[in-house]
Symmetry: C2
Subunit: 139 residues, 2 copies
DNA sequence: CTCTTGATTAACATTAACGTCAAGGTTAAT
DNA sequence: ATTAACCTTGACGTTAATGTTAATCAAGAG
């Protein structure tokens, strides 16, 4: 299985990226799909896997200055409420919800980073084994 | 203490940002330093703290597509070596070092995210206490 | 008082990561 | 064979986050 080829529109749907973004990634040599005789791009399941991995790495970043501003504002608004204790229940519940969202957002980024970190840790231990092996052979 | 004022050049040195970036952050209303009569910007220690926090949040992101490309290339090179077992000791040590760096880089990002997450979790628990209090008062 | 160093605003330039046409081939169905 | 629905490569536009340069004003040293 897995010998199927997908055209760019299908890949866009599967990944959530736009066709433009997918082509752009190819410009950057992040992916190199095959081509038909008439130059149509053909993507394999592995290509799609790679794209999903790129997306995951990309999404683990995404803190623009605008988002930072929001976070800091939320922070200072809450601090003000806490120090003055001037807020009705509805407002409080509102802020609690916003803070929860911030925490979850950060958590998701952390999870994606952890996933990518684990992959590298896995490679590292395999490389270390290989190193041991080569060292002994070299004696 | 802490009543000292810093001019923009000092702040640039203390934070590692350029003066241009610092002014840009002000354009975005991320910071609002005082001014002298002649419009010189005057920063307090709190302003500097805030800038450092912004930097930390910003750095916890920072995975450009170029960096992603490097990471994926490193990954596939290492996988190739592992599958063919064709590499001398020096090369191996080299790759081990590069992987270590990747892992550390990701670790640092995670740490910064965790720090910011903890701050929000702290606010959350304080808000929850306040909520309890308000609910009881309202009976 | 002048000279050097540093600050200010304004404005145009640049890079990354796409969005958005435009002009023209391809494929598949009718 | 034609048409709708894709695909291709330009090429110019856009936003965020600065870099760079220019013209001008301020401050402190000698």
């Amino acid at each position: 299985m897995g010998n199927k080829y997908y055209r760019i529109d299908e890949v866009a749907n599967k990944t959530g990226l736009t066709k433009r973004a997918i082509r752009y990634y190819e410009d950057l040599n992040l992916i190199s799909p095959q081509r038909t005789e008439s130059a149509y791009r053909l993507y394999t399941d592995e290509d799609i896997e790679k794209i999903l991995r790129i997306i995951s790495l990309k999404e683990s970043l995404a803190f623009s200055l605008a988002e930072i501003k929001n976070a800091l504002e939320l922070d200072s608004e809450v601090k003000k409420i806490l120090s003055t204790e001037t807020a009705d229940l509805a407002t409080l519940k509102n802020y609690i919800e916003m803070i929860r969202r911030q925490i979850n957002l950060i958590e998701e980024k952390i999870n994606k980073l952890r996933a990518s970190q684990e992959k590298f840790e896995n490679l590292l231990s395999q490389l270390n084994s290989l190193e041991d092996k080569v060292e002994k052979e070299d004696v």
